[in-house]
C-alpha cells in the first residue's frame, strides 16, 4: 500500500477545448511519479464519473475555463456520491471567480487551484491528501 502509485484522472468537462493546463498538469503529475489517465476533451460528468470508477482513481483533477464549473461540478459530485465514491479527492483548476470557490468547496471539491499555482503545490496537495485518507484506513474500493 505505501508504495502504491497515486492514480489521478485528469478530465476536461464541458465543451471547452483549451487543454494547455490539463496537459501540463498531467505531465507534471506523471513526472512526480503518479499514474495519470487523461480523459481527453468534452467529457460529460457521467463519462468522468464512470472513468473514475473504472480506473479506480484516488484523485480527479478537473480543468474548467469556460465558466460552466458550478453546473458541471454539482452534477459530477452528485454522481460520485451515488457511486459511493466520496473518498475520491476532486480538484479543479482553471478560471474560477473568487465568489464561486466557497460554494464549490461546500459541494465537496477539495481544492480550487487558480492560475499561477505551481505544479509542485498541486503535487504536494495530492500527496498529503491521499496519505491522510489512506492513514484513515478506509477500505479501498474495487472496480466491480
Amino acid at each position: 500500500m505505501p508504495d502504491k502509485k497515486i492514480r489521478v484522472l485528469i478530465a476536461k468537462p464541458g465543451l471547452d477545448g483549451h487543454d494547455r493546463g490539463a496537459k501540463v498538469i498531467a505531465r507534471a503529475l506523471r513526472d512526480a511519479g503518479m499514474e495519470v489517465i487523461y480523459t481527453g476533451l468534452r467529457q460529460t460528468p457521467e463519462m468522468i464519473a464512470s472513468a473514475a470508477l473504472q480506473e479506480d482513481v484516488d484523485v480527479i483533477g478537473l480543468s474548467i475555463l469556460s465558466g460552466a464549473h458550478n453546473t458541471l461540478c454539482t452534477r459530477l459530485m452528485d454522481l460520485l456520491r451515488a457511486q459511493k465514491m466520496d473518498d475520491v479527492t476532486v480538484l479543479i483548476g482553471g478560471i474560477i471567480p473568487e465568489q464561486d470557490i466557497a460554494e464549490l468547496k461546500k459541494i465537496g471539491i477539495a481544492e480550487v487551484f487558480l492560475p499561477g499555482t505551481t505544479t509542485q503545490a498541486i503535487v504536494d496537495f495530492i500527496r498529503q491528501r491521499v496519505a491522510h485518507l489512506s492513514a484513515a484506513s478506509q477500505p479501498h474500493r474495487s472496480a466491480e
Binding site: 485528469i10 464541458g14 465543451l15 471547452d16 477545448g17 483549451h18 487543454d19 494547455r20 490539463a22 496537459k23 501540463v24 498531467a26 505531465r27 507534471a28 506523471r30 495519470v36 487523461y38 481527453g40 476533451l41 468534452r42 460529460t44 475555463l65 469556460s66 465558466g67 460552466a68 458550478n70 453546473t71 458541471l72 478560471i95 474560477i96 471567480p97 473568487e98 465568489q99 487558480l114 492560475p115 499561477g116 505551481t118 505544479t119 509542485q120
Partner: protein, 577 residues
Amino acid sequence: MTDEKARKVSAAAGPVQASPSSFASPRKPSPVEIAWEESTLKPALAKSPDRLADFTTVSNYPIRRMYTDADLAGWSPERDLGVPGQLPYTRGIHPAMYRERLWTMRQFAGFGSAEDTNRRFRYLLSQGQTGLSVAFDLPTLMGYDSDHPLSEGEVGKCGVAISSLADMEALFDQIPLADVTTSMTINSPAAPIWAMYLAVAEKQGADWRGISGTLQNDILKEYIAQKEYIYPPGPSLRMVTDTIEFGAEHTPKFNPISISGYHIREAGSTAIQELAFTLRDGIEYVENCLRRGLSIDDFAPRLSFFFNAHNDFFEEVGKYRAARRLWQSVMRERFGAKNPRSWALRFHTQTAGCSLTAQQPYNNVVRTAIQALAAVMGGTQSLHTNSLDEAWALPTESAATIALRTQQIIAYESGVTHTADPLGGSYFVETLTGEMERGARDYIAKIDALGGMVAAIEHGFPQREIADAAYRFQVAVDRREKIIVGVNDYVVEEKPIETLHINDSVARTQTDRLRKLRSERSNDEVARCLDSLRRAATGGENLMPHLFQTVKAYATLGEICDALRQPFGVYQEVAIT
C-alpha cells in the same frame, strides 16, 4: 496514434531547436567590439557578474549581450528592410502607416443573450471603438443550440448565445452593418454563422459588396491548438474553401478567413512556432483553394492573419516583421501571385490572455500596454487589448474600458504612431526578425516534408511541439527561472476584485425563444432546406448558397450542424499529453 508513435514521428521530423544563427555565420565581431570586450566588458564583469547565466525570451530563445553590425553581415537594407508599403513589407504594408490611419481598435466582446451583447457593442462604439468583434459562447462554437443537453451550464458564459437568425438579428439591432466592420470568432460553424450575418445585412438593406469584416474560419489551428472542431479535416477544409470562393465572388471587402496564431501561442507555443504554424496553415488553405480551381490573385488579397502579442517586446516585434517578409516570399515564390495585395500580410493582434495573472490583477493593465505597444510597433492593422480581470472571468464594463483606453493612449499620446516601423534598422530587431523568419522557414520545410499541415496534424507534430514548449515554460516558472510578478515573486495577500457574473437565466430565455421559433417558422420549409443542404454536402458544390437559404428559413444552428454531421462525420482527436 499512440503517444509513443507520435514521439517517433516528431523525432523523425528532427528536433526543432531555435538556432541563434544570424546572417553571418560564424559571427565576426569588429576590432572595436573585440577591444571593448577585453578592455571594458571583462573588467566590469569581473567586478560585478551578470544577474543570470542565460538571458532568453519568454519563448526561451537566447538573446546576446549586444547586437552590432556583426550580427547583420549579409543583411541588405534594400533587400531585407525596404520601405513601408513595398516589398518585402518588413516596415509595414502601407506607405504612410499610422500617419494616414490608425489601426482598428476592435475589442472582442460577447456574453449572455444577443440583447446583452448588443448593449455592450453599442456602449463600446459610443466610447470610440472603431470595429466590432463577436465572441460566441461554447455551444455556438461547437454547433449546438442553447437548449441542447451538452449546452447545459455553458449558455452565454464565455460569449454570446446565437442559435438562429433571430438571435443574430437581435445582436445587430440598431447597428448598421453597412457602416461598421465586424469580426466574428467562429470556426467550425463559420459558414452558417456567416450566412446569418449576410442575411441580417440583406434585411438591413446593406450591399454585400460594400460590407466589411472578418470571419475567423481557421479550422486548422483548432485541430492544432484550441480544439473547437466538429468535422474531420477534409470536409472542414472544403467548407473553408466554400466561404473563400463565395466571398471572392460576392463580398469583395470581407475577409473570409483570419489565419490565426493567437490560439497556438495561448496553447503554449514559442513565438517561432506561432509564426511557422500559422503561415503553414495559410499555405494549406491556399493549396486547397488552388485545387478548387480558384486563381491565386482572386482570393489571396482577402486572406488575413491574427497574431498574439506576448510579453517579450522585441521578440514580438521581430515576429510581426518576419511574418510580413516571409508571407510575401511564399505568395510570390511558392504561389506565383502577381497582385501586390496578395503579397501583403494584413493582421489583427490580441494581447496574450495567457500572460494575465489572477494575482494583483491591476498589473495586467501594464502587461497589456507593453504587449499592445509591441503590436503597434510591429505594424498591426487591428488590435484587441485584454482586460485586467480576465484571469478571473469575462471583463466588466469598467475593465473593458481601461483596455480600450490603453490603445487610445498608445495611439494619441505615446508618439510611436508618428513614423513607420520605428524600430527598423536596430541591430537587435533586424537580427531577431531574421532569426524568426529562419526558424519559421525550418518548421515550414519540416511540415512540407511530412506531407502538409493536415498530415502533420494527423502525426501530432505541431501538437507535440506546442505541448513540449508549454511544459518547458511551466517548469521554468515553477523553478523561478522565469519571474512572473505577483505569481512567483513579489507576492502579497490580496482582496478579491469585482467580476462580471453571467446569470443562468440566459439559458432559460434562450430555451423559450427557441421553442417559440420552432412553433412559428415553417417547419416544412426548414426540413426542405436542411434536406437540400445535406444533399449538397454529399456532392461537391459550394454550400454557402444552401446555408443562406437554410438560415433564412430560421433553421437553427444546431439543426444545420447536425445535418452536416451525417455526411461529414465527426472528428475525435488522440490526445497528446
